[in-house]
Amino acid sequence: MTQHSARKQKLVVVGNGMAAGRVLDELFDQAPDRYEIIVFGAEPRVNYDRIMLSPVLSGEKQFDDIVIHDDAWYARNHIDLRRGETVVAIDRVAKIVRTQSGAEQSYDKLVIATGSRPILIPVPGAELPGVVTYRDLDDVDAMLTAAATGGQAVIIGGGLLGLEAAAGLAARGMKATVVHLMPTLMERQLDPNAAYLLRRAIEKRGIDIITEANTSAIIGDGKVEGVRLQDGRTLPADLVVMAVGIRPNMALARDAGLDVNRGIIVDDFLGTKDDSIFAVGECVEHRGQCYGLVAPLYEMARTLGARLAGKDTQGYAGSVMSTKLKVTGVDLFSAGDFSEGDESDEIVLRDPSRGVYKRVVLRGGKIIGAVLYGDTADGGWYFDLLKKQTDISKMHDTLIFGQSYQGGAALDPRAAIAALPDDAEICGCNGVCKSRITQTITAKGLMTLEDVRAQTKASASCGQCTSKVEALLAFTLGNDYAGGGRKPMCKCVDLTHEEVRGFIVAKELRSMPAVMQELAWKTSCGCPSCRPALNYYLLCAWPNDYRDDAQSRYINERAHANIQKDGTFSVVPRMWGGLTTPNELRAIADVADRFKIPTVKVTGGQRIDLLGVRKEDLPAVWAQLNAAGMVSGAAYAKGLRTVKTCVGTDWCRFGTQDSTGLGVKLERLLCGSWTPAKLKLGVSGCPRNCAEATVKDIGIICVESGYDIHIAGAAGLHVRATDLLGHVATEDEALEYVAAFMQLYREQAGYLERVWKWVEKVGLETVRAAIMDDHDGRRALFARFQISQRAVRKDPWAERAAGQQLHEFMPLAAMNLIAPIAEAAE
């Protein structure tokens, strides 16, 4: 290139990162010789691919591999690169930039590409040596130095960068722990289902993850030694990486009087309010949006490059973002809006055996978002359909199978299964092929799914292929197939309640996303029918670990009161075994007076119902009842309701045992427990049965020689007398046997299934064998019951009267009429 005689315009670029580099590339493509170019870079090196720092950290790449523009490129393009020189001021009137060293440089056009800086969380100890951020090569070098001596690293932030840092440090031999403020990892880029799979994959690498953890301090004497969390835990650390987000670098622009908000404000052509000054990359705010990913930066660079080249451009219209994580072996992709919507607006495909989760979110026949985990091959295709706003209605049924499947026929499961070759694998978990299943069905005369499972193991592990196995059964048996009476839990899944319960325990599934992924749910987050059931199953299986999800409960259990037809509630305090005292009655009367409770009624369960309480009054009503020693009667719960008693030996001339005392003891032992459906007990002191125990879920009839335990009565829509389970001699035995029976019911029945239905389903003999004959088994049931009771021993009313879940009871806002001025003046 020769020197032009006319003076070329001077283009000064502040920043030597990826955005700046790409702007120049675009400019050179279209107008290679237009400017004299001076680039200021704060880092002492050439332009490199910052998003590839993670492979450098993990050792999969070297710095040289990630250089975008080497020295030769700068020389070839006659760029005057001032590396290690920071621009500190812009004089817009004189059109000069000033550097830290005091040097000045004039410009005709100026591009600000100052990027962003990592957010440092303002906690004590943040300045200690050993605390680093993750932004540039210097940070990587600092991490590598620390990793060289091994030890423990704590990474604050479970987003993209934090996880990449953790994986890199773990690959370098450090013990890494990720501390994340939110309940799920990468919550902005992933839905909870994909986040569950990601967490599992990260933990498999030996990286610990602590979610919902707020850092309160970094501790150490002269250098970092640990991280203290708000809950009091302290994590030992030789290295702390802060990766909680980025903030645009806009001080330079702000000080120069340009408009800034969260970033430097630019128009669609990356211009600022000064005609000579442009801004690009992570430092800008465009249409209210700041970006921290590379694709949007490159899209901006294309526009700005063209504009600097003097070409017409359409302008930059903002970016739809997509995300990938650069951790080897973790395949995830997300784009667009994948927040939870309606079932009808999404297509979900899960393959538990391969750890695959795919979800495409639709609106009005177009893709608006996608989350893929485990198989991201079609991410680009979905992203393209999304960006182009392609109408996908015609491919709706096959869309989720990916681009290569398009044009294929929609699946009819029966026909598809019939068409499969004999050696096609049906059950991936157990390696069972089609012919093995059909041959076993024919050879052994199998008639039900359970038979096929027992004989071939097909669909016995994760259950995902249940519908295929069933289709094979139907196909093989033809008209002889009775359907087996199987009823899937809901439209979200092919498995029955019992199967889901079984898998939750066998596969140790401890959260809703885990259940939905591993059991191949067909929706992303269930429905109002399966969520309450799953919430109960998880609570029952993992009483110490699982955290109750209030939003998966019906209003009565959420508000700990019974909703009435007018939206008010009824309140029923416990009266243990039907006993009360003058003090309790006085307190109830006072509450009824004070809160103007319209109806006070005696219930069929020997207690008092206060009807017509306003929701906002509930906590105060409870506080007052608590003060008199009363607690929630759980009249709203799928759990223990009442234990009805007669007066027994205390008063009755026919009484054989202390039935009232036993009733009180039973109620105290069993209360608070959640069960599949409501549970009512009765204890009668003699066979005259004044407590009507033989129509209760569990009834005790006292006799001279001890206690007859009855089960499975009903006196509702369906009336049924109890069956005798067995006889025990002592009160202690009666308590243990009843609790063990209740635990068996808790562990086995389907959600909303009353005791009598469940007993008829499994058979009285089975229940009797488990409780009356298998003494070790019964003791184990009793022990499990006691463990689960430990978790529910607090009175829910007292907790709420003390302020828990206040949002449930208080309006968000209340607007009062402003009094007319005339009145106010009186």
């Binding site: 969520r531 939003q551 909703i563 949002h807 208080m810 968000l812 009062n816």
Partner: protein
């Protein structure tokens, strides 16, 4: 400005922060004329309906929120949060109100919510 224009003036009233409503939950805003239920979906979208089921007047804010729908706590009618229409075979509509989310706060259009 004529009277019609005066009445259609938009008055966005700040009723509280998004985080005051649990995801898949609802809370009420009491106005002199009616009670309004503000719903927050699992995906942090916000909707506002009159807190009365078109069926028997059940408080929709007490229902289970799923997707962009709520199940009435009294008789399990499923109401669409976007327009208040009952879904499936049920017919009826709960009145919906303009509501918006800005910088983490919820704004209700009181000129509509307070009007007859």
């Amino acid at each position: 400005m004529n009277e019609t224009m005066e009445q259609t003036k938009v008055f966005w009233f700040d009723v509280g922060p998004l985080h005051a409503i649990p995801p898949r939950g609802a809370r009420t805003v009491k106005t002199p004329r009616r009670e309004i239920a503000i719903f927050r979906t699992g995906g942090d979208e916000i909707f506002a309906l009159e807190n009365r089921c078109p069926h028997k007047g059940g408080p929709l804010s007490d229902g289970i929120v799923h997707g962009r729908k709520v199940a009435c706590p009294l008789h399990n009618w499923i109401i669409n949060l976007e327009d208040g229409e009952a879904t499936g075979a049920d017919k009826g509509c709960a009145r919906s109100f303009p509501v918006k989310l800005e910088n983490g706060r919820i704004y209700l259009n009181m000129s509509v919510a307070a009007a007859p």
